[in-house]
Symmetry: D3
Subunit: 208 residues, 6 copies
């Protein structure tokens, strides 16, 4: 008596064109736009498009922490969702150096250990800093300088959520000392001593 | 004395590239993005792109009502407009079954007859229900379960406006009983009796 | 065995603060913001907040048509919805004069009669014009000059949808001849003859 | 030689009015708007406004799982951020019943255990279902019916991220059987048997 | 000791796909969408993409003023920025005729001379008019009729900012008299005299 | 024959409530929200609300440049417009030190002199730098480190447009050395030498 064919068709009855309604999984082979990627054809989407399987600690970088990310480039289901998720694990005594995310607020969700995280407001130039442990969440507003230090015993681990499908990161040292920006311009625009600049240019492989 | 060539050209004088200013009629052959379709070349647009001609009652479906829609798939002028328009006509005693639109608020604009329409809030679990007639408008908030019944004499007809260029529809019965979702999962997650589930799976052509 | 109290509380269990989730019905006594009105307390909302009951033809205005509107000012349920609905009925031979809506695209949904509607693009200065009848919809893009004429027998009636909770309207004649804008400024900026300006200033009760 | 007073003042030098630049922490005592709460005065903001301290497993509800949330009502720093974070812990064999979030996509970030999560698309009525474990993330698109079952040994725990500062939840059983919606209307609009409806109305404390 | 390769790679370590983070310079050869152009490959972007070099006074048009624009068509770095910049220079006694920008608020930033600028509100039909000189800024709200007159000695020059990457312009005279819109329709919808219409159709090269 | 009263009233005929249509001038005495200020009552708005009169060079700051701004705090007409305008004048040899705007892209519109402006991308860590003169515009993308140097003879002057009604500014030196952030934390998170940090803390009046 009830025919699913008709039931399904009740809203869409006169229409044959296929378009995305429920989701717009990124077609990463297409060209990116200001709002994300064009949609993969709904007919080719499977459950695996909605699942990211490898949010595990990775290999430590030179700063003694690992950072693994589920972002638009490797998790196309978040196309248009406006958020991405990473995991970081910092060795005892390790540091996440001073940096900004130009396009994303960061939310730290602690998993284990003790992490002192802080950001510097631009309005009043205040340092907002707190030591976090499991069960704590901290919000670091978009675009402001921030940092973290593992101040406890053993690893400190956390999930990090950004309100962007792929957050940018601008590390203070890399930006100032890791490219060919002329040392005299760095000197004039930062008031750092030339010797200090040249020392860090050496460490961060910059020139100029 | 006045030259239209110069007049028209006053803002655009040094520029030869063609881009959309006044409208962005959908190029339905291009790939959809999160915000809609790329624009058809303005030079190929005619008045007929802005006119939809067939918002008439269609053939009744199994639920004893007809539903005709002017949506992005058949009315490319609404690209980016964030609304679409449908017409439905329910036979005397007919019902629009319990359903949701995940991505659209619905506005019913009555044409004739008497329709009892209702939605269920999630916040307080309240039923908001009213019997409508010609000259009445009712707003059904985005994503909430809602339904309608023709409680009067003769047909009930209405225009329906969605704040989406193509609203999704998830019918309770079709979603639960019209696919291959395992009956035991339906049972555990809905608390419905297995016999009831199997009966409706039969009616809605589901399996599992 | 199942307690609704617990069921309802599953997401919200530790929280007593009341905030709007399902809808934000306008509190019209509060001050408007760029995005609409603050929300009426959810506890005071009833089904009548979602229903507008009087979308009937009104009294004819001087242009020989009536215009009735369900907008944010008298239909607070559309707060944040980004659309509003009006009904207009034009007498045989009647005209909707040349005007713009600065903030809204207009969608005409015909009910009866024959209406010639048109708009003028800014890009190519083209007139897009069509005669509409029952079952026709026409889109008039935001901000462009447009007009309509009842070219059939008897009344022409339509619902009009705007993608704004309250569309502005700037009538050519009222804007130029219905205020105290100095006639010489009108003359210089429109190239109309002074005699023409003064004649229309008389008709539209302007001065200067 | 360098005076911080002047340095700080370089952009803002002629201005005494205080306004939010870096963040807009919610003033929960003010009236909510469509886009969130007005901003707390920046001068009263402290680091504790950016930290939520209690994302721990709570008391089990009737469905045998606990759910703890950091949302706008108890974590005002997420005002305008467009996301919130919860933690849920399901006992072995436990179930999160069929439900929708009208206004939020959900992202499950697994912590421990084995969870079978699924959603039903509206477009093709397909079930997208997967068994998840630690290190897995799954996206459940906005507004669609979904569910989860703990199918492993011991507890299954996860963080849940919503792209809303406070997601709504509409549980199928609570919405249909936990209020005063007339049983005959439920029957006509769901095709469930009256006996089934009355049985569940009993369990979920509904009437009518 | 510090390796820039690792430093740079700390956020992006497992990912090889290239996507835009910092900017989305328009690929003007691609098809425009509702939100702008797809992004040029970041690898091909140079500093010259961010610089527009020719915001100089141009050749006078028939209205005795010049208008030079840095818009999306010739300045692809503003893709998605939602603003564009023009320069206009009006000869002594010159006029910018009555017009609207359907999609953009205009901000006049005076450089030299004396300009009387005004707009007409739609709400109260009020003329908001002011004589401006160097150091003055005036905002002309989106979509409303406005005009300007050089009322001083010598040229009046200004930068004009629009909150659109390419503002439309609809000049009253061009729209009404510079196309093939039938004179009798102009007459009925503007209440202008037929002789006046025909005179201006002659001047603005219209027909009909 | 034509009555302006009726003409004006044609859209709004049945409605007495006052709401903003054409503009929403900020009521700076009300509490700011995420999207700006509530609207001043339209009845109290005058032309002077749309005009800012003092975009002139101000007093030089310690960095030897002046900066004057028309922002939401002193120019309420830009409420909701998403842009603000400043003027800066740098003495010969002067510098705008390294800084970021967390929430705004900057557009420099040169007026006189020669300015070398540059920004550092986060993606590839590239310096995008150019010497600008009158008639040049340069876009500096949101949130990235940037700087400028007057490299010519005499003053360099420019208008600066931000896509924010009040851009934040975070100066590198002020943020790191002008507050009470512990020197050892600065050392660990920036790799600067302690002596360098203490020297600059002295200059920028920081402590710790």
């Amino acid at each position: 008596m009830f025919h699913i064919f008709f039931a399904l068709a009740f809203l869409l009855s006169t229409i044959s064109h296929v378009s995305a309604i429920d989701f717009c999984v990124a077609d990463l082979n297409a060209t990116e736009t200001l709002t994300g990627y064009p949609c993969k054809s709904p007919a080719t989407v499977t459950v695996d498009d909605f699942v990211f399987s490898n949010l595990f600690p990775g290999k430590n970088n030179i700063f003694n922490f690992s950072f693994t990310s589920a972002i638009i480039d490797n998790f196309p289901a978040i196309n248009g969702l406006g958020l991405s998720i990473s995991r970081f694990d910092i060795e005892e005594g390790g540091v996440v150096p001073m940096h900004t995310h130009a396009d994303a607020t960061e939310v730290i969700v602690m998993l284990q250990g003790n992490l002192t995280a802080g950001f510097i407001s631009s309005d009043s130039n205040t340092v907002f800093m707190k030591t976090l442990s499991d069960g704590n969440i901290m919000v670091l507003p978009k675009g402001l300088l921030h940092f973290a230090l593992n101040v406890g015993k053993g690893k400190a681990s956390a999930y990090v959520i950004f309100d962007s499908v792929k957050a940018s990161v601008q590390l203070f040292d890399v930006a100032l000392f890791g490219n060919n920006l002329d040392s005299s311009i760095v000197e004039k625009t930062t008031f750092l001593d030339l010797a200090q600049i040249q020392k860090l240019k050496g460490q961060f492989k910059g020139s100029g």
